[in-house]
Point group: none
Chain length 402, copies 2
């Protein structure tokens, strides 16, 4: 379908806002979901004037990770485009990735007589692991033609990017984890599954021995296990696909990283909603498509904090008039997945959605909630339909056939 | 899916009406769509007793042309079956097309010293261009084994059909436009993209020089540009697919042409709704499936004439009891796409739909409108589901599997 859409693109001066309230969908506690409980007059009145519905990111019953959730929002079928674990980890730690990179998730581990005693090195404190990772970066700068980049993480986790001197063919990351998944076993050898991956496997093997050389006297973190070897997919760029000049406005590195994978610029913002809105206003004239990401709603959902999630929805609602004051041609408010606080995590539930433009029916949903969106003119639809709907409502799609 | 359906067909004496109110779906003006505003007691009462829903002809956000819109209604996936521009133009001008034909859209153009000065020959008046086209038909009857058929059009536009002496393989129309899309350039050469198209390209080249020979002294229309070379797709016939004996009742040539492409007979009617209904009554015993096309609702929508569109819906409503008086087993009322008068053209919005038969749930939609159909038992569904639903409600489909 993306190919069909690409052939129908026509440009104009319209502006599209895609506001992603991460994890916004929820489930009832005492009969009311987080959206039901939130006092949000602005979202409710917008929903009344909008095309509403619920969307399904991957498929019925499937709980999407943040990668598939966002790819889907951007119109990329998450079953066609997989983002490897290593890539997602590296993006989340703020690294930028390109076609010359292999990203790897790494665990510090404890080894004794060649056998793994603790796959997580006793979950050593973050400040300690950051220190060790810093030392690794000092000692190890490159292997063969690959630059080695360390990104410190939380507790025993970190990421490594091997940045080669030229683009790698797809398949170069087909390498098995060295983590045997069980204590009391030897680390698995670095095994390439494809011919293209052989060079990367050789470099990874050297990486393990170089790192072991530096940390072998650490009391706990005296070895490493490599997992989720991956490279960025050879994915069509957002701007080329849709003829839109996009910008990502997000505070968390992973979302910026996901945006950059499809060529969407994503300046580093570190503040709060206030800073994001100021940035949106300052850059309104320079872009066509604004991916505006609001993280905190999901964070409270993940913590199982129903009231906190409600409060964050209410906070966003107070900012909404300022956003709408810019008068975009198309405004979408939705999530990348649901995060019901009763589940303390992402869930498979369809995600509430509203699209406002001059070309909607409207007057079907009395507010922005799971049950009201169900009455909406868009019904329940696959998330990949979002971009075609946004483009159509911006009058950016020509007629198909005569 | 069409293949599955074909295997389940069982025949009986039931009659199916597919009434297509072209462009019937709309958008609100002061809160009310054209269907909301129309006084249409008969349609509303029928909707209450029917299975209602909304259908999507091609895909979310995609605005269908009349070709894809109708193919979809007849159960042919418009992404699998493309109708070329030349074919649609020729059908619209009333030509019949078969497997030996290549259809081409043609523009009169003004050329000076081998360079195009005006791609539309100053949009010469229709009566003038019709006269020139008549002269061309007198002078040019054939090239090699191809009969050359001219169909006069509006202003600078007309169509040519090259009718060869035997069926052409698919791919024979893969020829680039000679229209360079810009003034100040030479016409593009006739270029075949496939081996099968080489003979057609040779004939087209001769056609250009023959035509230029006749019109070279015209003040404006002294050259031609060829566009949209196409041939009819090798598409399964309606009757063979569904075991229904169909008839097309339509006043506009293009819809009759579309029907004939799938082997549906389409006698030339030139009158109004009155004549269409008289024809329907007179032929009720001779067919199983009646494609009944009502054009004017779309025409007013395309003109942005909200009141005119409302009036045409009301006019149809007054005729509806007479149609229902024939007591068909299955009656469907819908459109091939939406044409909101606020958009002055086809749109991507799902199309209101009702299906009446003894085997529906009913009592879900209080009337025939976009918002009421949304409450219907069929939900939002792909248009290609229409034919299986019609057949099922006519008890013409066997059980699938044991």
């Amino acid at each position: 379908m993306q190919k069909i859409i690409r052939g129908l693109i026509q440009k104009n001066n319209s502006k599209i806002f895609l506001i992603v309230l991460d994890g916004v969908g929820g489930l009832p506690v005492d009969g009311r979901t987080e959206l039901d409980a939130a006092l949000k007059p602005n979202l409710d009145s917008l929903a009344l004037r909008s095309a509403c519905g619920l969307h399904v990111p991957v498929g019925a019953g499937i709980t999407p990770g943040s990668g598939p959730g966002h790819l889907s929002l951007f119109g990329y079928d998450p079953l066609d485009w997989r983002i490897g674990r290593g890539v997602l980890e590296a993006l989340g730690l703020g690294l930028e990735l390109g076609k010359t990179d292999i990203a790897i998730r790494v665990n510090y581990a404890t080894i004794e007589n060649g056998v793994i005693k603790d796959r997580r090195a006793g979950r050593i404190p973050t400040d300690e692991s950051v220190k060790i990772t810093g030392r690794l970066q000092e000692k190890i700068k490159g292997i063969e033609d690959a630059e080695v980049i360390f990104a410190p993480g939380i507790e025993h986790r970190f990421a490594v990017v091997l940045r080669f001197s030229e683009p790698l063919p797809q398949g170069s990351a087909s390498i098995k984890d060295t983590d045997p998944q069980k204590e009391g076993m030897k680390p698995a050898p670095v095994t390439a599954d494809t011919e293209q991956a052989e060079k990367v496997a050789r470099v990874a093997e050297k990486l393990i021995s170089d790192i072991a050389g530096v940390i072998r006297n650490e009391p706990k973190a005296n070895f490493i296990l490599l997992r989720g070897f991956s490279q960025v997919p050879d994915i069509p760029l957002f701007e080329e696909t849709y003829g839109l000049k996009p910008i990502c406005i997000a505070v968390y590195p992973m979302y910026r990283g996901l945006a950059r994978l499809i060529g969407m610029p994503a300046p580093a913002l570190k503040g709060d909603l206030r800073e994001e809105i100021d940035f949106l206003k300052a850059n309104y004239n320079d872009y066509d498509f604004f991916f505006f990401h609001v993280k905190k709603i999901d964070s409270y959902g993940e913590d199982g904090n129903y009231k906190g999630k409600v409060a964050k929805i209410e906070e966003f609602d107070r900012f909404l008039p300022e956003i709408l004051g810019l008068k975009p041609d198309v405004t979408i408010v939705t999530g990348d997945h649901s995060t019901p606080s009763v589940l303390k995590g992402h869930s498979w539930h369809p995600v509430p959605f509203l699209l406002n433009s001059p070309y909607v029916l409207g007057n079907t949903s009395a507010g922005f909630s799971e049950r009201e969106c169900l009455k909406g003119e868009l019904g329940i639809f696959p998330t990949v339909n979002l971009m075609p709907l946004a483009l159509a409502n911006a009058l950016r799609l020509k007629k198909f056939g005569a």
